[in-house]
Protein backbone atom coordinates (compact mmCIF):
# COMPACT_ATOMS: atom_id res chain seq x y z
CA UNK A 1 0.00 0.00 0.00
CA UNK A 2 2.71 2.44 1.03
CA UNK A 3 4.65 1.60 -2.12
CA UNK A 4 1.68 2.54 -4.30
CA UNK A 5 1.25 5.92 -2.52
CA UNK A 6 4.99 6.51 -2.94
CA UNK A 7 4.92 5.82 -6.67
CA UNK A 8 1.85 8.05 -7.15
CA UNK A 9 3.55 10.93 -5.29
CA UNK A 10 6.70 10.36 -7.34
CA UNK A 11 4.74 10.53 -10.59
CA UNK A 12 2.99 13.74 -9.51
CA UNK A 13 6.37 15.26 -8.64
CA UNK A 14 7.87 14.37 -12.01
CA UNK A 15 4.77 15.74 -13.78
CA UNK A 16 5.24 19.10 -12.02
CA UNK A 17 8.94 19.06 -12.87
CA UNK A 18 7.92 18.54 -16.50
CA UNK A 19 5.58 21.57 -16.38
CA UNK A 20 8.34 23.67 -14.86
CA UNK A 21 10.82 22.66 -17.54
CA UNK A 22 8.31 23.34 -20.34
CA UNK A 23 7.84 26.79 -18.81
CA UNK A 24 11.60 27.27 -18.77
CA UNK A 25 11.64 26.70 -22.53
CA UNK A 26 8.41 28.46 -23.60
CA UNK A 27 8.04 31.66 -21.56
CA UNK A 28 9.43 34.87 -23.07
CA UNK A 29 11.75 36.58 -20.52
CA UNK A 30 13.96 35.83 -17.50
CA UNK A 31 11.45 36.86 -14.83
CA UNK A 32 8.61 34.70 -16.15
CA UNK A 33 10.94 31.76 -16.66
CA UNK A 34 12.09 32.08 -13.06
CA UNK A 35 8.46 32.15 -11.88
CA UNK A 36 7.51 28.91 -13.58
CA UNK A 37 10.78 27.15 -12.90
CA UNK A 38 11.10 27.98 -9.20
CA UNK A 39 7.54 27.18 -8.15
CA UNK A 40 6.86 24.06 -10.18
CA UNK A 41 10.28 22.46 -9.80
CA UNK A 42 10.49 23.15 -6.05
CA UNK A 43 7.09 21.63 -5.31
CA UNK A 44 7.82 18.72 -7.65
CA UNK A 45 11.10 17.90 -5.92
CA UNK A 46 9.44 18.27 -2.49
CA UNK A 47 6.85 15.74 -3.64
CA UNK A 48 9.58 13.33 -4.76
CA UNK A 49 11.34 13.61 -1.39
CA UNK A 50 8.00 13.11 0.42
CA UNK A 51 7.47 9.90 -1.53
CA UNK A 52 10.76 8.70 -0.02
CA UNK A 53 9.18 9.13 3.44
CA UNK A 54 6.20 6.95 2.45
CA UNK A 55 8.43 4.32 0.87
CA UNK A 56 10.77 3.80 3.84
CA UNK A 57 8.71 5.01 6.82
CA UNK A 58 10.19 6.96 9.75
CA UNK A 59 13.65 5.44 9.45
CA UNK A 60 16.96 7.18 8.81
CA UNK A 61 16.27 7.94 5.17
CA UNK A 62 12.75 9.28 5.75
CA UNK A 63 13.85 11.74 8.44
CA UNK A 64 16.70 12.93 6.26
CA UNK A 65 14.28 13.52 3.39
CA UNK A 66 12.13 15.75 5.65
CA UNK A 67 15.24 17.78 6.49
CA UNK A 68 16.03 18.00 2.78
CA UNK A 69 12.50 19.33 2.08
CA UNK A 70 12.90 22.14 4.66
CA UNK A 71 16.36 23.07 3.36
CA UNK A 72 15.29 22.93 -0.29
CA UNK A 73 12.32 25.17 0.43
CA UNK A 74 14.35 27.99 1.97
CA UNK A 75 17.26 27.57 -0.45
CA UNK A 76 15.06 27.74 -3.55
CA UNK A 77 13.10 30.82 -2.49
CA UNK A 78 16.16 32.80 -1.37
CA UNK A 79 18.05 31.86 -4.54
CA UNK A 80 15.09 33.05 -6.60
CA UNK A 81 15.04 36.44 -4.81
CA UNK A 82 18.76 36.86 -5.35
CA UNK A 83 18.60 35.89 -9.02
CA UNK A 84 15.69 38.14 -9.93
CA UNK A 85 17.23 41.11 -8.11
CA UNK A 86 20.63 40.53 -9.67
CA UNK A 87 19.08 40.28 -13.12
CA UNK A 88 17.20 43.57 -12.65
CA UNK A 89 20.24 45.46 -11.39
CA UNK A 90 22.33 44.01 -14.23
CA UNK A 91 19.96 45.82 -16.58
CA UNK A 92 17.87 43.11 -18.21
CA UNK A 93 14.61 44.69 -19.36
CA UNK A 94 11.15 43.32 -18.66
CA UNK A 95 9.55 41.56 -21.66
CA UNK A 96 7.43 43.29 -24.30
CA UNK A 97 4.11 42.17 -22.81
CA UNK A 98 4.66 43.68 -19.33
CA UNK A 99 2.33 46.44 -18.15
CA UNK A 100 3.70 48.17 -15.00
CA UNK A 101 7.10 48.65 -13.40
CA UNK A 102 7.10 50.33 -9.99
CA UNK A 103 10.59 49.10 -9.17
CA UNK A 104 12.30 51.33 -11.75
CA UNK A 105 12.06 54.56 -9.69
CA UNK A 106 13.21 52.96 -6.45
CA UNK A 107 16.12 51.34 -8.22
CA UNK A 108 17.30 54.62 -9.73
CA UNK A 109 17.02 56.36 -6.35
CA UNK A 110 19.15 53.62 -4.80
CA UNK A 111 21.83 53.98 -7.44
CA UNK A 112 22.09 57.72 -6.84
CA UNK A 113 22.46 57.20 -3.10
CA UNK A 114 25.27 54.72 -3.65
CA UNK A 115 27.18 57.27 -5.71
Amino acid sequence: MNNIIAVILLSIGILFNLFGCIGLIRLPDVYNRLQSATKCVTLGTCSILLSLLFFFGFKEIGIKSILAIIMLFFAATVAAHALVRGAYIFGIKLGDRSVVDHYKNANEKNKEEEK
Binding site: L18, C21, I25, T45, K64, S65, L83, G86
Partner: protein, 88 residues
Protein backbone atom coordinates in the same frame (compact mmCIF):
# COMPACT_ATOMS: atom_id res chain seq x y z
CA UNK B 1 8.20 -2.12 -9.15
CA UNK B 2 11.82 -1.57 -10.12
CA UNK B 3 10.94 -1.15 -13.79
CA UNK B 4 8.48 1.67 -12.95
CA UNK B 5 11.10 3.43 -10.86
CA UNK B 6 13.67 3.08 -13.65
CA UNK B 7 11.30 4.62 -16.21
CA UNK B 8 10.58 7.55 -13.87
CA UNK B 9 14.34 8.00 -13.37
CA UNK B 10 14.87 8.20 -17.13
CA UNK B 11 12.10 10.82 -17.45
CA UNK B 12 13.76 12.91 -14.73
CA UNK B 13 17.11 12.65 -16.55
CA UNK B 14 15.48 13.76 -19.83
CA UNK B 15 14.15 16.86 -17.99
CA UNK B 16 17.78 17.83 -17.31
CA UNK B 17 18.29 18.21 -21.07
CA UNK B 18 15.57 20.89 -21.11
CA UNK B 19 17.71 22.85 -18.64
CA UNK B 20 20.82 22.20 -20.72
CA UNK B 21 19.01 23.64 -23.74
CA UNK B 22 18.31 26.82 -21.75
CA UNK B 23 21.93 26.98 -20.52
CA UNK B 24 23.37 26.64 -24.03
CA UNK B 25 20.80 28.75 -25.91
CA UNK B 26 19.93 31.40 -23.29
CA UNK B 27 20.12 34.88 -24.84
CA UNK B 28 21.32 36.61 -21.64
CA UNK B 29 23.57 35.58 -18.75
CA UNK B 30 20.63 35.58 -16.31
CA UNK B 31 18.82 32.94 -18.41
CA UNK B 32 21.83 30.67 -18.12
CA UNK B 33 21.93 31.13 -14.36
CA UNK B 34 18.25 30.24 -14.04
CA UNK B 35 19.05 27.08 -15.99
CA UNK B 36 21.92 26.21 -13.64
CA UNK B 37 19.78 26.80 -10.55
CA UNK B 38 16.97 24.55 -11.79
CA UNK B 39 19.50 21.92 -12.92
CA UNK B 40 20.76 21.71 -9.32
CA UNK B 41 17.26 21.12 -7.96
CA UNK B 42 16.56 18.42 -10.57
CA UNK B 43 19.75 16.58 -9.58
CA UNK B 44 18.41 16.37 -6.00
CA UNK B 45 15.33 14.63 -7.42
CA UNK B 46 17.58 12.17 -9.28
CA UNK B 47 19.45 11.43 -6.02
CA UNK B 48 16.13 10.74 -4.27
CA UNK B 49 14.97 8.30 -6.95
CA UNK B 50 18.32 6.48 -6.96
CA UNK B 51 18.09 6.19 -3.15
CA UNK B 52 14.67 4.58 -3.64
CA UNK B 53 15.97 2.06 -6.18
CA UNK B 54 19.16 1.02 -4.37
CA UNK B 55 17.80 1.42 -0.78
CA UNK B 56 21.10 2.89 0.41
CA UNK B 57 20.85 5.85 2.80
CA UNK B 58 24.07 7.67 1.89
CA UNK B 59 22.67 8.84 -1.46
CA UNK B 60 20.20 11.18 0.25
CA UNK B 61 23.22 12.72 2.02
CA UNK B 62 24.62 13.54 -1.40
CA UNK B 63 21.29 15.20 -2.19
CA UNK B 64 21.39 17.37 0.95
CA UNK B 65 24.97 18.41 0.21
CA UNK B 66 23.96 19.20 -3.37
CA UNK B 67 21.13 21.49 -2.17
CA UNK B 68 23.55 23.54 -0.05
CA UNK B 69 26.27 23.71 -2.73
CA UNK B 70 23.82 24.72 -5.46
CA UNK B 71 22.32 27.37 -3.16
CA UNK B 72 25.69 28.92 -2.36
CA UNK B 73 26.77 28.82 -6.00
CA UNK B 74 23.62 30.55 -7.22
CA UNK B 75 23.81 33.17 -4.47
CA UNK B 76 27.42 34.00 -5.30
CA UNK B 77 26.73 34.30 -9.03
CA UNK B 78 23.64 36.45 -8.37
CA UNK B 79 25.62 38.84 -6.18
CA UNK B 80 28.31 39.06 -8.84
CA UNK B 81 25.61 39.82 -11.42
CA UNK B 82 24.17 42.56 -9.22
CA UNK B 83 27.52 44.32 -9.20
CA UNK B 84 28.12 43.94 -5.47
CA UNK B 85 31.35 43.05 -3.73
CA UNK B 86 31.36 39.43 -2.56
CA UNK B 87 32.16 40.31 1.06
CA UNK B 88 29.13 42.57 1.49
Amino acid sequence: MNQVLNVLLYIQIILCFFCLYRIIKGPTIADRMVGIDIFGILVVGICAIIAMITERSFIIDIGIAWIILSFIGTLTLAKYLGGRKLNE
